[in-house]
């Protein structure tokens, strides 16, 4: 069970404030949907959770521990693209995490130890519906299959926190619905905490147990550098009424509406 604490986080680039005063307490086993217009810093926020970037001020803690200064295995990630290794088959992609964990020197296993890991990887592939694609290279798979693969690859190392950066943004609507089902099932099974950045409001409401919207509160051109975006809406989706959710959706729609789907 993983708690995430975010306190007074600011992020500046060359003196320009991107994010300011970000405070968030995330209970264990939450699914946090993050929405907001382009350039509001939601991807920056995700990169800070990943330790790809560090906050200029403030801190982020997982279970009371400060984030390490670089990406680690406790935080898994699925990007919109380039999430899987093109030179490995689906099975090898999933086996990557367990292999590097067990073979520090060569990064790969041989013989019976390799066989055991591949069996584990095959089971993980089956759980995302890719039973028959183990021998395929990512380039031979559809976009939806690649994202399933990326999810299986990220989950096999059992991260405490899973970070999703518009993971389904490039997929067709029908396939996206399948992916939502898969994601909800895995979320229930694993008990992990998920942060998902998305442009799709319906997706955000459908998957999340909590909705966080980022936006700038000062938008005049001369204020852009001095004031950043911050959390403008924080809604517990699992404990709110249908009416609250409907109002929030309408309120957000015109702010996020100018975004590409």
């Amino acid at each position: 069970m993983t708690e995430v604490t975010i306190r007074h986080v600011w992020k500046e680039y060359d003196g320009d404030v991107v994010l300011e005063r970000v405070n968030l307490d995330v209970a264990p086993h939450s699914f946090v949907s993050i929405v907001g217009p382009s350039g509001c810093g939601k991807s920056t926020f995700l990169r800070m959770l990943l330790s790809q970037e560090a906050p200029t001020r403030g801190f982020i803690r997982i279970d009371g521990q400060d984030l390490p200064p670089e990406p680690t295995a406790e935080r898994g990630v699925v990007f919109q693209r380039y999430s899987v290794f093109p030179h490995l088959t689906a099975l090898e992609n999933v086996a990557f995490g367990p292999e590097v964990a067990r073979a520090p020197l060569l990064g790969r296993l041989f013989g019976s130890r390799r066989k055991a890991v591949l069996e584990q990887a095959a089971a993980a592939l089956a759980s995302v519906g890719l039973d028959h694609a183990g021998d395929k290279y990512p380039a031979q798979m559809s976009g939806g299959m690649q994202q399933r693969l990326a999810i299986a690859q990220a989950l096999i190392t059992k991260p405490k926190v899973l970070l999703l950066d518009e993971p389904f943004g490039a997929l067709d609507p029908g396939i996206r619905a399948d992916m939502h089902q898969l994601m909800l099932r895995l979320f229930d099974e694993t008990g992990m905490t998920v942060f998902m950045v998305t442009h799709d409001l319906k997706e955000a409401f459908h998957l999340g147990t909590r909705l966080v919207a980022f936006d700038r509160y000062k938008t005049r051109p001369e204020e852009i550098g001095a004031y950043g975006a911050t959390i403008t809406l924080d809604l517990a989706l699992d404990r709110s009424s249908a009416r609250e959710r409907a109002e929030a959706m309408v309120g957000l729609a015109d702010k996020v509406a100018d975004q590409p789907a």
């Binding site: 990943l50 990630v77 030179h87 990557f96 590097v100 690859q153 990220a154 190392t157």
Partner: protein, 274 residues
């Protein structure tokens, strides 16, 4: 309906004929020019007839030399290929290590990248005299010339390819628990090898250039040495087969490297098919 030129394609057979046509025209032109000159002066050496060329080939490729007892063409080929192979092997290894180091590790890049950038601007032929002085007139200076001529290109090219790797891949590998070393072994190196082989293919031309130049200046055996030696006697009947042979060797090496890439890295073809 008549189609636009950009949509007109030759059939497979047609493409083959079209590809052969320029070669046939060149051979015909040579034959015409040769017979015209020979008709005027039977001792003409500039464009020897095909029978004279064939005699020369038999002499250099199938008859032991009277003075040395070896068959010249094979001795020359063995010497040149040994130099070329060694030079390319060292350059490739250096390109791989420095390229990946510069591309992946910021500290290595800060220390080495400017040096590589400057060294790659030194014209290799300009330092050839230095190489002769330092390494002597033997094999070593020729191999070093090839290394100096080719390695900086390979290093910079590979560095650029490493830097082109999507950032997401490196992050992903870290979130799966991979160390720097494991990232090199499992993510970067396997994806760089086919690109390295492609770069080596592109380097074959310069490598031959440096080899033949070095052999022309100081050597006792070698394809370049032979060409420049018989030039004194205007022996076009030897030079032309040698040039054709060198071209064939270079072409075969290029083809072999391409086949190697396809064979070793099936995921590349998978990427192209999609």
């Amino acid at each position: 309906m008549a189609r636009r030129l950009i949509n007109l394609r030759p059939s497979r057979q047609g493409a083959l004929y079209l590809g052969l046509l320029p070669f046939l025209i060149l051979i015909a032109l040579y034959a015409t020019g040769s017979s015209l000159r020979l008709a005027e002066n039977p001792d003409d050496k500039l464009l020897p007839g095909f029978s004279v060329l064939a005699d020369a080939v038999v002499r250099v490729a199938f008859t032991p030399d009277r003075r040395t007892g070896t068959v010249l063409l094979w001795a020359d080929t063995a010497a040149s290929l040994a130099r070329l192979g060694m030079g390319l092997a060292v350059a490739t290894a250096a390109g791989l290590v420095v390229g990946i180091g510069n591309g992946l590790l910021p500290y290595v890049r800060a220390g080495f990248s400017p040096l590589v950038a400057v060294i790659s601007m030194v014209p290799p032929m300009a330092v050839l005299p230095i190489l002769f002085i330092v390494f002597g007139l033997d094999e070593l200076s020729k191999v070093v010339l090839i290394v100096i001529g080719v390695a900086p290109f390979l290093m910079r090219d590979l560095q650029a390819r490493v830097e082109e790797l999507p950032r997401e891949q490196l992050i992903k590998a870290q979130t799966l628990g991979a160390s720097s070393w494991q990232v090199v072994l499992r993510v970067v190196l396997p994806q760089m090898l086919p690109r390295l082989i492609d770069s080596v293919r592109l380097s074959l031309g310069p490598a031959w250039l440096f080899l033949i130049s070095a052999e022309a200046i100081a050597a006792e055996v070698g394809l370049g040495y032979r060409i420049f030696l018989v030039r004194r006697y205007l022996a076009m009947d030897v030079i032309l087969p040698y040039v054709a042979w060198i071209t064939l060797l270079a072409f075969a090496a290029d083809l072999a490297l391409r086949a190697l890439n396809r064979r070793l890295f099936p995921w590349l073809a998978a990427g192209r098919g999609a």
